[in-house]
């Protein structure tokens, strides 16, 4: 495994093949829990942990699991990690766990995780799968934090709970409500494409 390939896994996971910005996978948690940057970060890290664990285990068992039942197999693996996350968050980050609520157990059905297991971990070695899991997860976290920050800033005037914009700013409630998630994500996507297009132009 060359460095080259590793660095490509890293940049792909973080940016070029970002689960949210490019593949538009895992929209439920993305839109639902990003009412603040903190929520986004928590959700992102939880998912990253699950991704890492699931990728490693799936990669380990990839040669033993019959292909006809591989999806249920992956789901069980993922579910195990989700349970770990769920219980430990409940124990150590109880407040955040209360906010994220049902979306923690729902990580099980996050398409990004199943997608990486099926598309990557089941065909690659443990090390590569681990790298892929970590950076896909961090890419996901990045997206959620960006979206969460934008929504929190516009919707509550604060960032990570710190009031930023002063009392003259009138927070726009809609951004902490579901429609705001769609609108904000739309504009973030515009921004991402714009950056990419600009760089492509320069490269060309």
């Amino acid at each position: 495994m060359s460095d080259n390939k590793t660095s490509q896994l890293i940049t792909d996971g973080l940016w070029y093949n970002n689960g949210i910005f490019v593949q538009m996978l895992g929209m439920c948690p993305t839109l639902a829990v990003t009412t603040s940057a903190e929520n986004g970060l928590g959700m992102g890290l939880a998912t990253t942990f699950v991704l890492l664990g699931a990728n490693v285990v799936v990669s380990l068992i990839r040669n033993f699991i019959p292909s006809a039942v591989r999806i249920p197999g992956y789901i069980i693996v993922i579910a195990a990690f989700v349970t770990i996350v769920d219980l430990s968050m409940n124990a150590y980050l109880h407040d955040l766990h209360k906010v994220l609520g049902i979306f923690i157990p729902l990580i099980v059905v996050n398409c990004i995780i199943l997608g990486r297991a099926e598309a990557f971990a089941s065909k690659n070695g443990v090390f590569a799968s681990a790298i892929d899991g970590i950076f896909t997860g961090l890419g996901f976290t990045l997206a959620l934090v960006v979206l969460g920050s934008v929504r929190e800033l516009l919707g509550s005037g604060s960032l990570f709970g710190q009031a930023l914009l002063g009392s003259d700013f009138h927070p726009s409630l809609v951004f902490v409500l579901p429609p705001g998630a769609f609108i904000a994500l739309g504009f973030i996507l515009v921004g991402v494409r714009w950056i990419n297009a600009k760089r492509d132009n320069e490269a060309a």
Binding site: H170, S172, L173, V174, F175, L177, P179, I183, G186
Partner: protein, 354 residues
């Protein structure tokens, strides 16, 4: 056979001379009586609200088209029209930042992200109003009492600027300004507490007076209060054939027919149809909002269905939902159904059965 230098063109060789700009201008003219009335009734603040909103629409349109590297289209007047329409849905003391936010949202999210004029799904002015209503519920439902221009209650120009620029309607000397509820709001709150319509609105609807309502002399958003003048403008558009009767008539019918039925059934709990007609934004909505061409069906049959839907939803929202007024929600919801309506109301092609 000598050739002369006539240009070759294909038919049709003439045009009835109308243009999009004309259409938009006609609608703007038609809104002028209502707008002037709004300023008369609410004073300078109304004028400031209208000017700020319209300007922010124009600036957004210009900048965004520039960003998209398209020729600026503010000359087609559609952005100005959106601005005026949006302003008419705002409360008379709307603070400046709300006007700007609404204007930017209307053009950016309501129109340009879809591809600009002609491609938007939702009425830009109404989608912006809905946005503001959800975002800033307190400011969007602060209804000051009417303060006709040049009357005793009216604010001076300086006070008006202060109100709009600081958003502090409750400055000490203006404190009593932030009070009255709209009749629709009053009806919903009070009947919600178990009172009858008569009790809610005062004996014989005393507090709410039909004549004053028709003339616009009750609280509400700029456009809501000027219904009678709005209807004039609507009539002008009909005469000029800018709009057809289908949407306004069917929208009014869609709201008033169920209103009549329920009122006949139980006058204690359902106000009479004139109450529905003369309060809130039904008239201005029926003539100016629902008739927006881009976001309404293209065939007359479809327009009738659309209008009925708008009216009915308005009635449902006013009577049973969490909001006292539902014209903008109703129209926006029906906007979403327009492609479907269009699909099923195509005219029958001549010579084809069905």
């Amino acid at each position: 056979m000598s050739q002369t230098n006539q240009l070759m063109k294909s038919s049709p060789h003439v045009h009835d001379g109308d243009s999009v700009t004309n259409v938009m201008e006609a609608v703007i003219w038609a809104l002028m009586p209502a707008t002037a009335m709004a300023v008369m009734i609410f004073g300078w603040t109304a004028l400031l609200v209208i000017v700020i909103t319209t300007l922010s629409c124009l600036v957004t349109e210009h900048l965004f088209l520039k960003l998209r590297q398209r020729p600026s289209a503010i000359a087609d007047r559609s952005a100005a029209l959106t601005g005026i329409l949006l302003a008419l849905t705002l409360p008379p003391h709307a603070p400046w930042w709300m006007c700007v936010a609404g204007g930017v949202f209307a053009i950016l999210v309501g129109k340009q992200v879809y591809g600009g004029l002609g491609y938007n799904m939702f009425n830009p002015a109404l989608i912006a109003r809905v946005f503001l209503l959800i975002s800033f519920p307190a400011q969007m439902t602060a209804w000051p009492p009417v303060t006709p221009l040049f009357s005793e209650q009216s604010y001076s120009l300086g006070d008006s600027i202060a109100i709009v620029m600081t958003g502090k309607v409750g400055a000490p000397e203006l404190a009593d300004a932030v009070s009255s509820a709209t009749p629709l709001g009053q009806y919903r709150t009070e009947t919600g507490l178990g009172k009858t319509v008569q009790e809610a609105l005062g004996g014989g609807y005393g507090g709410y007076d039909e004549v004053r309502a028709a003339g616009g002399l009750i609280g509400g958003s700029l456009g809501e209060t000027v219904r009678c003048w709005g209807r004039w403008g609507g009539g002008y558009l009909l005469r000029k054939k800018v709009i057809t009767w289908h949407i306004p008539v069917s929208m009014l019918a869609g709201c008033l027919v169920p209103a009549t039925i329920f009122w006949t059934y139980d006058p204690a709990h359902f106000p009479d149809p004139t109450f529905h007609l003369l309060t809130g934004g039904l008239i201005i909505g029926a003539f100016f909002m629902a008739t927006d061409m881009v976001t309404s069906p293209i065939t007359s049959k479809g327009q009738i269905i659309f209008g009925l839907g708008c009216g009915l939803l308005t009635y449902l929202i006013r009577t049973w939902s969490g909001y006292p007024e539902g014209v903008s929600f109703a129209v926006v919801i029906m906007n979403a159904v327009v492609p479907l309506i269009d699909q099923y109301t195509r005219p029958r092609v001549y010579g084809h059965m069905a």
